[in-house]
């Protein structure tokens, strides 16, 4: 048995602070304004429970007509699905390759010049803020219908996404090794490629894989505007009320997305 007596509880000399701070007038006004914005938005989108309930039977009818699945066009679907994945893969790889130099230019500490920094930041923001569907529409006009337009759209979207996160990862890289290289006379490129990039590599791989997953999902949508891939098949099937065929395509897309996500999780585990 222990001979040490438990410490007697003592009353602290300073009482604990109150659990919650009383909101100031500014915070209160901001909360009211936020609620008003939300209420107006709910009104704006015509949120209506009755419409939803009335719509349920027609969803049910569609689901009913989806079964049994129409498997007659399976080889064709497989072909389109493969094309979708190829668009995502090539677009992501090209986008990642372009992102690395652009992201270096878009970091405060490694950019060759403040103007280059601003230009790179601006370019990345434009690529990111314009939705990929818009890029697809533009590229369809530029290079014609088909997977090449979709691939370019995915590439631009990847530059917007990876460029930003690559730059952030590089800004956060440990400064110690960088200072060591600076101290031994390394130049700007030497510091970037010897200390900054190796430190950010896990983050790069993670972001690139995440982009591949994202690109697989969005390349389905890009087909809707004729930028290649399986999207157009889905649209045609829906427009012709061939819900059984549409269901097959949706399941196939689901399978592809799950496969890509599992594959990238596997790569992540292997590399990290």
């Amino acid at each position: 048995m222990s001979t040490v007596a438990p410490a007697a509880p003592t009353v602290p000399r300073h009482p604990a602070p109150p659990r919650f701070e009383r909101p100031g007038p500014g915070a209160f006004a901001a909360a009211v304004a936020a609620l008003a914005v939300l209420a107006a938005a709910i009104d704006g989108v015509g949120l209506s429970l009755t419409h939803l309930v009335e719509g349920i039977p027609s969803i049910g009818r569609i689901l009913e007509r989806m079964w049994p699945l129409d498997l007659s066009r399976l080889p064709f679907i497989g072909q389109a699905l493969l094309e979708t994945f190829q668009m995502a893969l090539v677009g992501t790889v090209l986008g990642v390759a372009l992102s690395v130099p652009l992201a270096i230019a878009a970091t405060r500490s490694h950019s060759p010049h403040p103007l280059v920094y601003l230009a790179a930041r601006g370019l990345i923001s434009v690529f990111r803020t314009v939705p990929d569907l818009v890029w697809a529409l533009l590229f369809v006009v530029a290079v014609g219908l088909g997977p090449f337009a979709g691939t370019l759209a995915i590439m631009v979207d990847a530059v917007g996404f990876c460029g930003r996160f690559f730059a952030e990862a590089m800004e956060e890289a440990d400064k110690g090794p960088q200072e060591a290289l600076r101290a031994l006379g390394a130049g700007r490129l030497g510091i970037v490629f010897c200390a900054v990039v190796p430190a950010s590599l896990p983050s790069f791989v993670n972001t690139a894989l995440f982009n591949l997953e994202k690109a697989t999902r969005s390349s389905v949508v890009l087909g809707l505007v004729g930028a290649g891939g399986i999207g157009i098949e889905l649209k045609v099937a829906m427009d012709l009320f061939s819900y059984d065929l549409a269901a097959t395509i949706i399941l196939a897309v689901f399978l592809l997305v799950v496969l890509v996500e599992q594959g990238s999780a596997l790569i992540r585990r292997r590399l990290m």
């Binding site: 440990d174 110690g176 090794p177 200072e179 060591a180 290289l181 600076r182 101290a183 031994l184 006379g185 390394a186 130049g187 490129l189 030497g190 490629f193 010897c194 200390a195 190796p198 430190a199 590599l201």
Partner: protein, 265 residues
């Protein structure tokens, strides 16, 4: 003072008999950071081949002074000559060439994680040769790889050449950092508490190896340490910094540890 330590001093005493060349001469060096005066008119001379220990309490400005020598921190005032170059007058390219000749060993080894020990040592050749061939051991020229292996050999770490540095122990990492400095073929080495993050046994071993390597090549050495034994046993001269000013500058054999307690009060 131990006999071994006295013996170690033999070489530089002999060197000091020749007409002395000054490798580092700082005069009136000043620096403020965050509104505080960190260095307040520091005068410091280090002669060729000498080993100088810089001591002083936390926040005295030792690290700042060492960083100023290579303009990793820009001094505000004063003049600075290092290896016969007017450091303050150097432009970017000249400064890089000077930095290439000066090894800098940090308290935290500052190796690049995820890369092999060999690659980290090869980085030491950065300023002699630029470009991708000194970025990774796989791309490096055969002669560069050989030299890097030789540097690893001198710190006794050939067997970990292929290993990632984040898998090495603290003592091994610091020895790789020393090998990286050797790869620079330095004329002057600066070390900021090189063994402060190591356990006493490893610290003793690494310090012994480090100083021995410097002595053999007669490389001028300026280092800081909070370990008074390291400061007294391995240095020819002792410089104490307090509140940004030089408070003591004397030959190490004229001082014993008891004299130094006052600087930390």
């Amino acid at each position: 003072m131990s006999a071994a330590a006295a013996e170690r001093r033999d070489i530089p005493v002999a060197v000091a008999c020749e007409p002395a060349t000054v490798d580092l001469a700082a005069k009136g060096l000043a620096k403020s950071l965050g509104g505080r005066r960190i260095l307040d008119g520091v005068d410091l001379h280090v002669r060729r081949g000498q080993a100088v220990a810089l001591i002083g309490p936390n926040g005295a400005g030792k690290s700042t002074l060492l960083r100023c020598c290579l303009r990793l921190v820009e001094p505000e005032a004063g003049s600075l000559s290092l290896l016969d170059q007017d450091v303050m007058a150097l432009r970017a390219a000249g400064l890089r060439r000077l930095r290439a000749r000066v090894g800098f060993v940090f308290q935290r080894h500052n190796l690049v994680p995820r890369l092999s020990a060999l690659t980290n040592v090869i980085h030491g050749a950065q300023a002699r040769r630029a470009g991708p061939r000194v970025w990774l051991q796989g791309l490096a020229h055969a002669s560069v790889r050989e030299e890097a292996m030789h540097c690893l050999e001198r710190v006794g770490l050939c067997h970990v050449a292929r290993q990632r540095v984040d898998s090495l122990s603290g003592g091994q990492s610091q020895r790789v950092a020393i090998a990286r400095a050797l790869m620079q073929r330095p004329d002057f080495v600066i070390a900021d508490e090189p063994v402060a993050s190591l356990d006493p046994a490893a610290g003793e071993e690494v310090m012994e190896l480090f100083v021995d390597l410097m002595r053999r090549q007669r490389t001028t050495l300026l280092y800081t340490s909070h370990n008074l034994h390291h400061a007294l046993a391995y240095a020819d001269r002792l410089v104490a910094l307090r509140a940004g000013k030089i408070a003591l500058d004397a030959p190490a054999n004229a001082i014993d540890a008891a004299d130094l307690r006052g600087f930390y009060a």
